[in-house]
Symmetry: C2
Subunit: 147 residues, 2 copies
């Protein structure tokens, strides 16, 4: 009991809690495992549909809820405000989104810690760096803008 959830053990963990292991959940897990660590709700739905054409949004979102309970994903919000899910296990990282070129980068743990330090030093705020996507201009676009 009280097993740690991971992609391989989700099934058992679910069953251990009286929940069930279904092919739809399998599909969601497959897509999450193949994602690069973050994905929006609707992207997830699309990709699931690619694997299983019968995928329903409601099932996907409901599955995300239980996976969040298990600690396998955490939700946040992307640059445009849409729900975004961070796939665990992974280092707690944040995201940078360039509003000019549209690319997204990760903020590695070290740099995230530095940001957290600044805010903590200010007034003790414990930031959850992974909850939102920071927006701005990447070096390249910033340079272009200055030129």
């Amino acid at each position: 009991m009280d097993e740690r959830a991971s992609w391989e053990t989700v099934g058992e963990v679910l069953r251990g809690r009286g929940l069930r292991w279904t092919s739809q959940r399998q599909t969601v897990i497959d897509v999450l495992a193949a994602s690069n660590g973050h994905i929006t709700g609707s992207e997830l739905v699309e990709r699931c549909r690619a694997l299983d054409a019968g995928t329903t949004p409601s099932t996907v979102y409901r599955t995300l809820d239980v996976l969040e309970d298990l600690g396998l994903v955490r939700h946040g919000h992307g640059a445009d405000g849409r729900e975004e899910f961070h796939v665990l296990p992974e280092s707690r990282h944040g995201h940078l989104h360039c509003s000019s070129c549209g690319q997204t980068w990760e903020i590695d743990e070290r740099r995230g810690e530095a940001v957290a330090d600044v805010l903590r030093a200010g007034d003790g705020f414990e930031i959850d760096i992974g909850h939102v996507t920071l927006v701005g201009l990447c070096q390249q676009c910033a340079d272009t803008a200055r030129a």
Copy 2:
């Protein structure tokens, strides 16, 4: 021409651009001027309706678009991903939202600069600190959680 917009001069600036100064826009401006610097789209609609019961969402959102063109507001996204408008002129600041108690604080310019420095130092990313609301735990809630 090329006038700088401000709450007092919006009317002239609009007219200078061939646009019009209407009572509905007046209402939106009134609400914005009375706001504490940030407000969501739907909040704005509500408050406008309080002043003028006939306020329509479409008009409010369309007005926000032109005000953004004039540089009087900038849009971003709040903790829950909803559109949030920052009212100018004001120092470029960010927001901190405590996911536990729900309160929101401002990140003053100095601290925002410090955060920007960290990211700029990392890879030259020019963050727009005002575009998103950072989420985490305020000191009080963080302490409670630790206890």
